[in-house]
């Protein structure tokens, strides 16, 4: 958040505090980005922030303030509601803007972390079944995760279980839960690596495969798995599955229109762009047939060309063509302009190359499949069901919906890839991979550029890849190694901190015999 800090003298400030709420004239400009109401800060000595000021409104300077910072040159009148004493050092504040003018040198644009607005947490209360389960767990002095409790409740509701049966179910669940939990110091990473690696050898190497949907191809098999684990910024075949709102999802025509709206159309798709060398102009010859197919009007093309940033160009219309003349033409300029025009987006959403409407029999509604993906723009469209719409671009999910969503996407995508090839890998292995990739708050690749390269131990990094580089750097920087991990201890020849190697024995005083 942006805010301002200004210096004030103590006398005047005391006067102001006594008269709150009041209007206060200030002689410095307030940047436009700052909109009332906002929280500003005041310093008395120029290095410590002493007060936080709650400004309710900025009044025009014609208004006569009750008090003012300076008698002359009033630029804004602030309506101050509340003043709070705070203790903060200016060093903690990072200036982001230039100092504003000479008179107001002490005013900085600063970036502060506003306390997050308190959004009431929506807690889904427990129903009778859930309460009953919690009661049983309490009596047994056991604990189950929230999601498991809710799951048992929703299923037992279906079968209308009585109390005794429910107790049995809970008992079995606890047993199963304990059985499936892993002992501390178990080498889960190695197990996960092998559990994914072995079936991975059976994955196809074929990159392209025609999926059920007409003409949309998707990367599958091993290449896709590598793509997921590498956390690439763009998958080689991004696709989206767009679900639609209730009012249009059963209407084929409306869905087709929406799909056409999605498809990005470049000028080159509906017109020919030619360079006329003799007259030094660029001519755009529109193709009526292609235009009507893609539902694009002449005006749309004109509009798009007008928005281009080239200077000194004039447009003239001539029947079905648009002629662009330059003020001082050169071959290079003509070429650049014609290339720019060819790739100019006339309509649609950037990144989406094709959109195909398909009737989904299992759910009885129309769905749009796309080649290319742009989650943010698609979610903003009207008629799109933003709850179900899906993209296979994990980084895009991360940017639009956050890490947790990205983690789930990694799990879903990798399990989907494996299942398509008829391989069943336990989810927990993939969950571990997804957790490792996302636990730092952003999506990181596995391997040299991601997790493996970020290990704190020098020896562990050296053991992985580019040994000499890491050792040399560690020597130059005087790094030390705590020998906590596995790879380090293997290099040194010590027992590793896994399984029995991680157990530390101590003497136990024998209990006195009674």
């Amino acid at each position: 958040m942006l805010t301002i800090v200004w210096k004030d003298n103590e006398k005047k400030w005391k006067q102001l505090i006594e008269n709150l709420p009041t209007t206060y004239g200030v002689d410095f400009p307030i940047p436009e980005e700052i909109k009332p109401p906002f929280k500003a800060f005041v310093t008395m000595d120029g290095s410590n922030i002493d007060y936080a000021v709650y400004v309710k409104d900025i009044l025009p300077k014609t208004e006569k303030p009750k008090l003012s910072r300076n008698t002359k040159g009033i630029q804004h009148v602030l309506l101050i509601e509340k003043v709070e004493e705070v203790k903060m050092h200016v060093n903690e504040i990072e200036p982001v803007g230039k100092k504003q003018g000479t008179k107001v040198q002490k005013i900085l644009l600063i970036n502060i972390e506003e306390e997050a607005p308190k959004i009431p947490v929506k807690f889904k209360g427990y129903d009778d079944f859930e309460n009953a389960i919690i009661e049983i767990l309490k009596n047994k002095k056991e604990n189950l995760p929230e999601s498991v409790i809710r799951e048992i409740a929703s299923r037992s509701k279906k079968f209308k279980l009585n109390k005794e049966d429910l107790e049995k179910v809970v008992e079995f669940t606890i047993q199963e839960y304990k059985k499936s939990s892993v002992d501390p110091h178990e080498a889960v990473g190695i197990v996960a690596a092998q559990s994914i690696g072995e079936p991975g050898t059976q994955l196809t190497l074929r990159t392209f495969h025609y999926a059920g949907v007409a003409e949309v191809n998707i990367t599958k098999g091993l290449p896709r798995l590598i793509e997921i684990v590498d956390a690439r910024t763009k998958p080689s075949t991004p696709t989206m599955e767009i679900y639609l709102e209730d009012d249009i999802k059963k209407d084929q025509e409306k869905v087709e229109i929406l799909a056409k709206k999605l498809e990005s159309t470049k000028v080159i798709d509906v017109a020919d762009v030619e360079i006329n060398v003799t007259e030094m102009t660029v001519t755009i010859v529109m193709d009526k047939e292609k235009m009507s197919k893609r539902r694009i009007s002449k005006n749309q093309i004109l509009e798009a060309i007008k928005k281009m940033k080239h200077q000194g160009t004039t447009l003239t219309e001539e029947g079905d063509s648009i002629i662009i003349t330059l003020q001082d033409p050169s071959y290079k300029k003509l070429y650049l302009i014609s290339e720019d025009i060819k790739n100019l987006l006339v309509s649609g959403i950037k990144g989406i190359e094709r959109a195909i409407v398909k009737y989904e029999e299992s759910i009885g509604e129309y769905k749009i499949y796309t080649q290319g993906s742009n989650l943010k723009s698609v979610l903003e469209l009207e008629g799109v069901d933003h709850r179900k719409t899906y993209t296979n671009d994990i980084m895009e999910i991360y940017e639009v919906l956050g890490v947790e969503a990205a983690r789930n996407a990694i799990i879903d995508e990798s399990i989907k890839t494996l299942e398509e090839q008829g391989l069943s890998v336990d989810v927990r292995h993939l969950m571990l991979v997804a957790d490792m990739m996302t636990f730092e708050g952003n999506v990181e690749a596995i391997g040299r550029h991601g997790i493996a390269g970020k290990k704190s131990s020098v020896l562990a990094r050296a053991a992985f890849e580019i040994t000499s580089k890491h050792l040399l750097q560690a020597g130059l920087l005087g790094e030390s190694d705590e020998l906590r991990g596995v790879a380090e201890n293997i290099i040194v020849g010590q027992p590793i901190t896994l399984g029995t190697g991680a157990v530390n024995l101590i003497y136990k005083y024998p209990e006195k015999k009674r």
């Binding site: 002992d183 501390p184 110091h185 178990e186 399984g499 029995t500 991680a502 157990v503 530390n504 024995l505 101590i506 003497y507 136990k508 005083y509 024998p510």
Partner: protein, 61 residues
């Protein structure tokens, strides 16, 4: 305290080594029990081994 399977293995292993080196056995063992590992297992089941584990060692550093 419930031991994990690694802890159990480690305790029995350590105790079996002690017994094999001649440590006095702390429980009454049937005549034909000769293998130190078997003896250590029996001791473990009876809770007679004076060894336990230190958990969360990192918190002690």
């Amino acid at each position: 305290m419930k031991y994990t399977r690694f802890e159990k293995a480690r305790i029995i292993g350590a105790r079996a080594l002690q017994i094999s080196l001649g440590a006095p056995v702390l429980i009454n063992v049937p005549e034909n029990f000769i293998d130190p590992v078997d003896i250590a297992l029996l001791e473990f089941e009876k809770g007679a081994i004076p060894i336990t584990v230190l958990r969360n060692k990192r918190n002690f550093n």
